[in-house]
Amino acid sequence: MRLIPYPPGVIVGGEVIFKGQDLLQISEEEMRHIRGNNIAMIFQEPTTSLNPVITVKVQLSESLALHRGLDKETAGQEAVKLLKLVGIPDAERRVEDYPYQFSGGMQQRIMIAMALSCNPELLIADEPTTSVDVTVQAQLLELINNLRTQFGTAVIIITHNLGLVARYVDRVNVMYAGRMVETGSTEVIYGQPKHPYTLGLMTSVPRLDLGRKRKLSVIEGLPPNLARLPTGCAFHPRCYLAIDRCSKERPELEEVGENHYSACFRSQDVKK
């Protein structure tokens, strides 16, 4: 979405193709038109992601006015509708409130409403529920899920919560140290992981359905420093399957099954 602060962040290369158009090539002007309109984003901390000194109504109608050219009056009415859509009770009155007057869960609902205001084709949710309680987390994810089916929006969820992925997601990309290490459908990734890091993640989280007799596997060591990545495969110092080749060559994504790719020389030896 080209929101990396510059300096220090620079997108060095690659392509981001959105509907056949490379987003890294277009002008800032065109990008601004896409942001909020075609691609919208939800952030991790709703409390800090909403402007504290502006009413919810203004914050909601802003992008409506910008991308859909609504006048102030209609945008205000639309804002109320959006709040109702995301399940905020008493929307007519509460739309005049400031963000701090809402609870964390409600604030995230407002963020969702804001993101959906222009019917984007793509919604990016960056750790959308890490700062809220589990019961509220379930509500929010159900909400996103329902809206997704209702409006046909594609959703990218960025998260470290493996349970959440299992429940709501169709396809998974597993990333380690800035690179994609495995990609495939949710069933395949959870059922037959083909990268030792994915497998390590799966077996190191405690599970609700398995008792305390189960021993957690532990991924030894620490996540690497991104400024000084290990040579070869970035995961090799922590990998139980590492061979000499792993420290010299960097594995590329290879097909290991139908629509299932893994970046590991020993993907065939990864057994659940």
Binding site: Q139, A166, G191, G211, R214, P223
Partner: protein, 325 residues
């Protein structure tokens, strides 16, 4: 009451925090953080304490350790009431009970070396002389799987997981029998969580510790606890053996809470029944009447609105506070 195998007995614990307003700081209301809570912890067991934010689980832990002076109620440690202790006596009692904190960044003094952080409790309790704890510190660091040569480093030179190990070493340095673990892994990376959980479990076996394990992550609590207490808005909802509670939750809140946690396995998870709660947790300043859970409960009835449910025994050491069971 205090059975011989109980290490901690919490009896009718109440903790209100006053809400003040105006220049004169007049009390206008109370935050009812913990409201009439009773339970016990057996020697050598791990009691999990779960609930959503604002349910009073952290406050309960702090009250047991006397970091907050409870508004009412008793906390018995091996049958002795801690709430009546003051000054020097209380300070000495602290040797037996320690705390592991959630935030491994804020809980270590940035101006002290790792060695001094781990050694300080021993100095405070007169176990060693100041500056003569090198050997003990080295031993403690080895115990938490850190290298003794790291003792000269400052906290910022450690990673999050290593800092949490320092926090554990500090708690262990005075050889306590009871440790309150307040969300010890929730600030850590997923891959680091498993390391710390395994460490805590190993230490418990080796040193015969008793844990009160406070967490909002039900999967973690399930993994480490023998028995589990579920709290909601300062009240106890359900207490049961860990396996029993997860297999057979009785309270509607517990059921909803468990169903809200997805299992990281799509095949298992997609077969589970889901209960979706409506609304947020109400403010503990002004909790709902009767059963605190009734506005969000699907099985609510008139008596839930009017009367507070008592804890009822529904099975082997399985207690539930609900009218509808």
């Amino acid at each position: 009451m205090a059975g011989n195998n109980h290490l901690i007995d919490v009896e009718n614990l109440v903790m209100y925090f006053p809400v003040t307003a105006g220049v004169l700081r007049r009390k206008v209301a109370d935050v009812k953080a913990v409201d009439d809570v009773s339970f016990f912890i057996k020697k050598g067991e791990t009691l999990g304490l779960v609930g959503e934010s604002g349910c009073g689980k952290t406050t309960t832990g702090r009250c047991i350790l006397q970091l907050y002076k409870a508004t009412a109620g008793k906390v018995l440690f091996e049958g002795k009431d801690l709430c009546t202790l003051h000054g020097e006596n209380l300070r000495r009692a602290r040797r037996n009970m320690q705390l592991i904190f959630q935030d491994p960044y804020a809980s270590l003094n940035p101006r002290m070396t790792a060695g001094d952080i781990v050694g300080e409790p021993m100095v405070v309790h007169g176990l060693v002389k100041s500056g003569e704890y090198k050997e003990q510190v080295a031993q403690l660091l080895r115990m938490v799987e850190l290298e003794p040569r790291m003792a000269v480093r400052y906290p910022h030179e450690f990673s999050g997981g290593q800092r949490q190990r320092l926090g554990i070493a500090r708690a262990l340095s005075v050889r306590p029998s009871f440790i309150v673990c307040d969300e010890p892994v929730s600030a850590l990376d997923v891959s680091i969580q498993a390391q710390v959980i395994s460490l805590l479990m190993r230490l418990r076996e080796e040193l015969h510790l008793t844990y009160l394990f406070i967490a909002h992550d039900l999967s973690v609590v399930r993994h480490i606890s023998d028995r589990v207490v579920v709290m909601y808005l300062g009240k106890l909802m359900e207490i049961a053996d860990s396996d029993e509670l997860y297999a057979n939750p009785v309270h509607p809140y517990t059921q909803a809470l468990l169903s809200a946690v997805p299992i990281p396995d799509p095949e298992v998870d997609r077969q589970r029944k889901r209960i979706l709660l409506t609304g947020d947790v109400p403010s503990p300043v002004n909790p709902p009447s009767g059963c605190h859970f009734h506005p969000r409960c699907q099985r609510t009835g008139d008596e839930c609105r009017e009367q507070e449910p008592e804890l009822k025994l529904v099975g082997n050491e399985h207690w539930v506070a609900c009218h509808r069971v």
